[in-house]
Symmetry: C2
Subunit: 340 residues, 2 copies
DNA sequence: CTTGATTTGAGGTACGTACCTCAATTATAT
DNA sequence: ATATAATTGAGGTACGTACCTCAAATCAAG
């Protein structure tokens, strides 16, 4: 049988009340008593029974994901994963929900965050772009003791805020290597398409991509980023124009997670199979395109892992527990036709 | 507040005792009462409080991994992961340990399994090759109500036994696509090296590999598998002989998880960087070789995920809970220099 | 030594569920 | 209708921890 607090009290030569005071950081304990309890903990190998703690505290957890309203298939998949996590965690005294905000209005986002109440929400996972207002609002969340993790965006480590998501420089570099190795000795130009280059994630991916192409594969030239702003008409215009101007495009890299629109536009001008195309994130579209061999590889981060990781981190922060860094590291995955 | 058994009894119009009988499948409950309780469960949304259940049952879990004695770096990493999981789960009333057996002696393995006692072990994760004796012993473990998952081996679904591990056909096919795409239009022969081709996993990887090469990349020819039997001298002999006989070897595929020995042998005869090499599993050796660009890609399954997945499944089986299939699916990962 | 503050111990209740006993009620077979 | 079996309810204890109160013991300062 595992030692209990009672055994611990006995081993430390103090009363249960004192053990309780030490374990829960209550005042009025002499240094000597505290020391003796801590020694006893290691000597008899006492480990708190979490089930009993949770029961006694009768604590429930309530976490919320905050997503943008925009977004196509990948966002939908993230929301699915939140739903799944929600049903999985219900027996764990944890409620999970989400909200969607228009991230183009930082003032509104900050406003929303300032209305969050500690009585209703213990922690939030927020997928929002950098902005001073939002940053301040997040800081004030922390002051109200609402835990925050930055979710798949930002990553500009503000303070000691937790971040969940793959490293975007790595993701871009991985895309760069795949596109280059798949092209072999073929030389030419590579189109780079993004929704926006304002976002830190996209900038970092671009940096990683360029670094690999420049240092390892100088026969390839990466063109300046085209920004679609999520606008289908604009995408069509700028993509077709570039394809007319540049004669020897041999590859395409779609930086942001919603690859459907740009690649559909390219398919109107060129045979996709004649290009080497790398996109990000597994979606119904990228899956189908991989199977059709219309695109060649997808660099992805597992959305289910990301959601669960964010929740584990929030939970650990609420309990003042350490997080297992190795487990929370979101990998940059490479998906090919075969390993979907 | 969440409804408790008391609320449930009230809602169902029965006593707490009857609710308890229904929830824990005890005898002597009329169909009518059972029905009313079940209806009340859904109508008030009752969910068992797991913390309280665990506390009341005061149950501890004890799981054991069973590994081969042989093996090099990948096995060591698996053992590390078992240690980590062990410390992570200690606060979850779960003990985790492992044993190593000489898998070349199926009789001894079967014997070991037959000595396992339900009082000491609730479940085992076995990494053992197929064999009639072992299969029988596993069946008898089930009869003694010890839960079993097949771990990273076997996969010949015997009965409804759980399997943890990536699909090996997929893994081989993925290796095939990478090696072929990386070679581009280069034609030539591809060496295939394994420790043994007796193992089902290796056979399946080879099948997947051949399928991709044959159907998509006919300019490449995969040579017959070389079997090293884990013997360094033998590896040296057969590898150098093949490299002398076959003039146009352009790629190498190492099927089994311990790539160190075969690739070191190849390096004595050829410049590794002039070959396109794909191996399996992330180990200190493959990591270093990827960074040096001596090997080009690694097809891997995350050992930490695998260990945790096996433990989650064993735990779920002990509690007669369903498993979340999506979460337990071990992915075939592709590792390049950039996304290590 | 006295006074007041700090520290300690004893004992209680609570959390939600499991599991037990025993008596009371209801259903079924004869 | 009676005997027997099946079902139900009431009430208890237990799990390990948190958190509370109150009195007793110890300590520090004057």
């Amino acid at each position: 049988m595992r030692p209990t607090t009672k055994d611990l009290a006995e081993a430390a030569g103090v009363s249960l009340a004192t053990v309780d005071r030490v374990l829960n950081d209550r005042p009025n304990v002499s240094d000597r008593s505290r020391e003796r309890v801590h020694q006893a903990i290691t000597s008899i190998g006492y480990v708190r029974n979490i089930a009993a703690v949770n029961l006694a505290k009768n604590r429930t957890y309530s976490f919320r994901f905050i997503f943008p309203t925009a977004g196509d298939q990948y966002l939908r998949e993230l929301i699915n994963q939140v739903h799944e996590a929600s049903t999985d965690l219900i027996s764990d005294m944890t409620d999970v929900d989400f909200d969607q905000l228009d991230m183009r209005d930082p003032h509104m986002v900050a406003n929303y965050l300032s209305t969050l109440d500690r009585d209703q929400v213990d922690g939030v996972a927020i997928m929002a772009p950098e902005s001073p207002q939002v940053r301040d609002a997040i800081t004030r969340l922390g002051e109200r003791n609402i835990k925050v993790v930055q979710f798949l965006s930002g990553q500009e480590k503000l303070g000691n805020l937790d971040f969940v998501g793959a490293d975007n420089f790595t993701a871009g570099a991985t895309a760069g290597r795949i596109i280059s190795r798949f092209l072999g000795q073929i030389s030419g130009k590579v189109m780079v398409i993004a929704d926006t280059m304002q976002s830190l994630s996209n900038i970092q991916r671009r940096l990683g991509f360029d670094q690999v192409l420049n240092t390892c594969f100088p026969v390839l030239k990466a063109l300046p980023s085209l920004e679609t702003h999520g606008d289908e008409a604009r995408a069509k215009r700028i993509i077709s124009r570039q394809l007319q101007h540049e004669s020897d495009v041999v590859g395409v890299y779609v930086i942001n997670s919603e690859a459907r629109v740009p690649i559909e536009q390219i398919s109107h001008c060129k045979d996709l199979r004649s290009l080497t195309i790398v996109a990000h994130e597994r979606t119904p579209f990228t899956e189908k395109a991989l199977l059709n061999e219309e695109i060649d590889a997808v660099v992805a981060q597992n959305p289910g892992h990301a959601v669960r990781s964010a929740l584990r981190i929030l939970r650990a922060r609420c309990d003042n527990r350490d997080i297992i860094a190795a487990q929370e590291n979101i990998r940059v995955e490479v998906l090919l036709k075969e390993n979907l």
